[in-house]
């Protein structure tokens, strides 16, 4: 009995073991890729569907990039596009016609050749009114879209098949985002066996033309994809397959990563992340993504006191963004502009700045003078601040509460579940102030400005523009930017739009969030893609390094023999 208790105490004492180092060593970066091996990664979330017509969450998207080829893909630098199924494309001078020339010989996983009619069929399948596609309206400027979704036409007139290898996309008005939305998995061609209409059973046997083909999916457990040998890029991919474990808690992911049961990891608990970043053994390994999401607080332009521009500007000037970022060093970065670093048009110049004296002066101008020394004055009513519970928003709100108190604004934090938060904040004249944010659906500035600040994004319910901000000058600027075909001129227009919004302050921008990706050194040729996470299609595994790694695999400090010796009193 006593020995058993002693053994238990020793085991508990072993819980603070040092962080094990990486498995294997980095090889010659110029070494030619080698084929073979399964790559294993995990996520704490689950995949709900693998049908590209309806899936739009981050994990499903990552897997869909393995399974489905698209006309074109986002370039690794995030600034443009690279060919995929289309070997080239041409946008007409008026911006109303995009002609795609498909490569010959590209095959679906079931052996059929990918042809222009497959692209048209698949897009019509995704955009059909019976398909619960969450981003159907991204394609609304394809000519004939409205007639199709209103069941007035049997096909989308603007999708024209000109021979087996040429597809023309005609637009009802110029739309510079069309190439971006055609690079999303929603527009990826699916096998002819998928048919012309959405069928929920397709998700159980997804079939596309991507570098990997579907092997198995056990909901809540894993998705496995295996190499597609007839992939249209000869010699690629290199891996035999990829196993994506689902629903794995972050701390279990860490244990598995350390034990060599995962090759790549991205979802760290804050404490674990700090340990990895501080560990000398892991120094120089891994990579931060640039950040595709921005977080802010919205100030409802229709509810006092935020209907006054000076009060909004005062809020933006009263916030110490560095103090919020200090709570999560590394993953949270202070931000003063709307476009996060991974989005074209990101401006490194300071935007909204902390200036307490200016903030107090603005409050005075607005008719709410506040004396910090006596605590007298300010806005006379307490204002509820809505945040999503179990998120960093609540921690940030606690800091904001103190910042805003310094200019005479008293907020009361109300943390709500995600569904309730969405319902309330998007309803007109309901919430005065609350946390907000946006993650890029695709890397383009329009994806931030149009839903968040355009007047047309305001509605009585389901308003995407939660600040209910109207600015006709901005609206005109956004329309011009959407139609502008010259990329440099277009980005200039968005910079002007950003300055306009920052000055009017319907948002007080707070921070950007970024992910840290880490992989064992035997995983080679992985280059993080700023447009999406886990772009591991063309990574390869060094079999020698992995084998050596297995041999030097971290031995458990408490083996069965050692336990037995403890229990038997060292005999």
């Amino acid at each position: 009995m006593r020995r058993s208790l002693l053994a238990a105490l020793v085991l508990l004492g072993g819980c603070d073991a040092a962080l094990p180092g990486p498995i294997g060593r980095a090889g010659d970066p110029a070494a030619p890729p080698r084929r073979g091996g399964w790559l294993r990664l995990a996520s704490y979330t689950n995949v709900r569907t693998l049908d590209p017509a309806v899936a739009f969450d981050e994990i499903a998207n990552a897997i869909e990039h393995f399974l489905f080829a698209k006309l074109l893909d986002f370039s690794p630098d995030g600034e443009g596009f690279v060919p995929d199924l289309a070997e080239r494309w041409h946008v007409s001078d008026d911006g109303l016609r995009i002609t795609f020339h498909l490569r010959r010989g590209a095959r679906f996983h079931d052996g059929d050749e990918v042809q222009a009619r497959d692209i048209k069929r698949s897009l019509e399948r995704a955009l059909h009114p019976d398909t619960p596609c969450p981003i159907s309206s991204f394609y609304e400027r394809i000519a004939g879209y409205q007639d199709y979704v209103q069941r007035k036409a049997s096909d989308i007139a603007g999708l024209k098949v000109e021979g087996d290898y040429t597809l023309v996309v005609e637009l009802s008005e110029p739309d510079a985002t069309m190439l971006s939305v055609l690079a999303l998995p929603t527009a990826a061609p699916v096998c002819r066996s998928a048919g012309a209409r959405y069928d929920r059973d397709f998700s159980a046997r997804p079939c596309g033309a991507g570098p990997f083909r579907f092997q198995s999916w056990e909901p809540g457990r894993h998705v496995r994809v295996e190499r597609f040998d007839a992939y249209h890029e000869p010699g690629r991919p290199y891996l035999d397959g990829i196993e994506y474990a689902l629903g794995v808690p972050t701390f279990t992911q860490r244990f598995k990563f350390e034990g060599g049961q995962l090759d790549y990891m991205r979802e760290f608990g804050e404490a674990d992340l700090a340990r990895y970043l501080a560990s000398p053994a892991w120094r120089g390994l891994g990579s931060w993504d640039l950040g595709r999401a921005v977080h802010a607080l919205f100030l409802n332009n229709e509810i006092p006191p935020f209907d006054q521009r000076q009060v909004r500007q005062a809020v933006a000037a009263a916030i110490r963004r560095d103090q919020i970022a200090a709570v999560r060093p590394g993953s949270v970065r202070p931000a003063s502009r709307i476009l996060p670093p991974a989005i074209p048009g990101h401006n490194t110049a300071p935007g909204q700045r902390y200036d307490l004296d200016r903030a107090l002066a603005l409050m005075r101008e607005a008719g709410y003078p506040y004396d910090p020394a006596t605590g007298k004055g300010g806005y006379p009513h307490e204002i509820p601040y809505v945040a999503v519970n179990d998120s960093f928003d609540v921690e940030a709100a606690q800091i904001l509460q103190q910042h805003l108190a310094r200019i005479g604004l008293r907020i009361r934090i109300r943390a709500q579940g995600w569904p309730a938060y969405l319902a309330e904040t998007s309803r007109r004249r309901t919430v005065a102030i609350g946390s907000d944010g946006w993650a890029a659906d695709f890397p383009d500035p329009s994806n931030f400005f149009e839903p968040l600040f355009a007047s047309r994004a305001i509605s009585e319910e389901e308003s995407q523009n939660r600040a209910f901000y109207r600015n006709p000058t901005l609206d005109a600027l956004l329309v011009s930017a959407r139609k502008e075909t010259d990329p440099a001129r277009r980005l200039d227009l968005y910079r002007k739009a950003e300055d306009m919004v920052l000055d009017d302050a319907p948002w007080a921008v707070l921070y950007t969030k970024r992910w840290f990706e880490l992989w064992h050194p035997y995983v080679r040729n992985y280059r993080p893609n700023p447009a999406r996470s886990e772009a591991l299609s063309f990574a390869w595994i060094d079999p020698d390094a992995r084998a050596a790694a297995r041999a030097q695999r971290w031995a458990p400090p408490l083996s069965r023999g050692r336990i037995a010796r403890w229990v038997s009193g060292g005999r």
Partner: protein, 336 residues
């Protein structure tokens, strides 16, 4: 006894109907729009509206409720092979069909989802019940027999610790020790083969079972102590029966009655309520499914899991009631 069973069955059906109706109303009244959750937080209003219409959520509550009940149990198609849009999400129950609808989020029939999760939940519930019964009976009886000794006090203290410690703490400790350090058992998951499944169920069953065993130990200890003080036990001992015989044949048999009641209620709870343990060990059971459904406002799955959990609790209660007649001859004559 048969009449009693029928009466309980009929009242169970009424209770089930009440539970489904209540769940339907609560689900409708919850803040937040399921179509918005399906479409995603960044979806445009036009896309949300189309999805709402596609899911039938734009219809009045009474119409949605009527349609749900109508589809819940309905006559099957004439041709048994017919699996069209109308019967695509049904399960056959003789000539009748059961249809719990299609999950908003997973786009799969709810019945199929529940049936795919049920074996894992049953396995975990049975294994956890085995652990808590075995540990509870042995330690509870031992503590009662050695009342007042150090062993008894130790057991009482340990059970207090067991009842108050959260399951995730115990689960994490077991996972750390047996999977991470010793590598004897898998971290998590369900396994592919029967052998793997048996290995995989050990840690979650111990987590759930040891937590429950603490309560069972206290219950058994108190019951055994109470029974040992009864006249019949003292008479048996006075008539020369051995202490072991009195304990096993007389005392433990009478201890079973309250234990069976608790086991019946517990089994239903274990079947759908092992949420933390299922999450921790990635066990693909009903508990995790129901939590995900609530978070995602997946109405058909919420109603389906409520229906299954209520059925399990009612069935367990029915069995407990019927088992009374077997365990306690005095109750056979009562009408119930």
């Amino acid at each position: 006894m048969l009449r009693r069973a029928f009466r309980r069955l009929a009242s169970s059906l009424v209770v089930l109907w009440g539970v489904v109706t209540l769940a339907f109303v609560i689900n409708f009244a919850l803040p937040g729009d399921p179509a918005r959750i399906v479409a995603g937080p960044q979806a445009r209003p036009a896309d949300v509206a189309r999805i709402r219409q596609k899911l039938g959520l734009d219809r009045p509550l009474l119409e949605q409720y009527g349609r749900y009940l109508q589809r819940l149990i309905h006559p099957g198609p004439r041709s048994p092979d017919r699996r069209d849009e109308v019967h695509g999400s049904c399960g056959a129950l003789g000539p009748l069909h059961v249809d719990l609808g299609v999950s908003y989020q997973q786009h799969r029939p709810v019945l199929e989802l529940l049936l795919s999760r049920l074996p894992a939940s049953l396995l975990l519930a049975a294994a956890a019940m085995l652990v808590q019964l075995a540990v509870g009976l042995v330690t509870g009886t031992a503590a009662a027999v050695r009342r007042g000794t150090l062993a008894d006090k130790g057991v009482v203290a340990l059970t207090l610790l067991g009842v108050s410690a959260p399951t995730f703490l115990l689960g994490l400790g077991l996972q750390y020790l047996f999977a991470y350090r010793l590598r004897w058992l898998p971290f998590d998951g369900y396994g592919q083969s029967s052998g793997e499944r048996l290995l995989s169920v050990v840690l979650p069953a111990l987590t759930l079972g040891l937590f429950g065993a603490a309560y069972y130990t206290r219950l058994v200890r108190d019951e055994v102590l109470g029974q040992l003080g009864q006249d019949y036990a003292r008479t048996a001992l006075a008539k020369g029966a051995s202490r072991l015989r009195v304990l096993v044949v007389h005392v433990l048999r009478n201890t079973l009655l309250p234990l069976v009641t608790v086991v019946g209620l517990d089994f239903g709870t274990l079947l759908g309520g092992a949420i933390v343990t299922e999450k921790l060990f990635r066990w693909p059971g009903l508990g995790q499914l129901s939590v995900d459904a609530v978070v995602e406002r997946d109405g058909p799955v919420i109603l389906g899991t409520v229906l299954v959990a209520s059925t399990a609790v009612l069935a367990a209660n029915l069995l407990v009631d019927l088992s009374y007649a077997l365990l306690d001859p005095r109750s056979r004559g009562r009408g119930g």
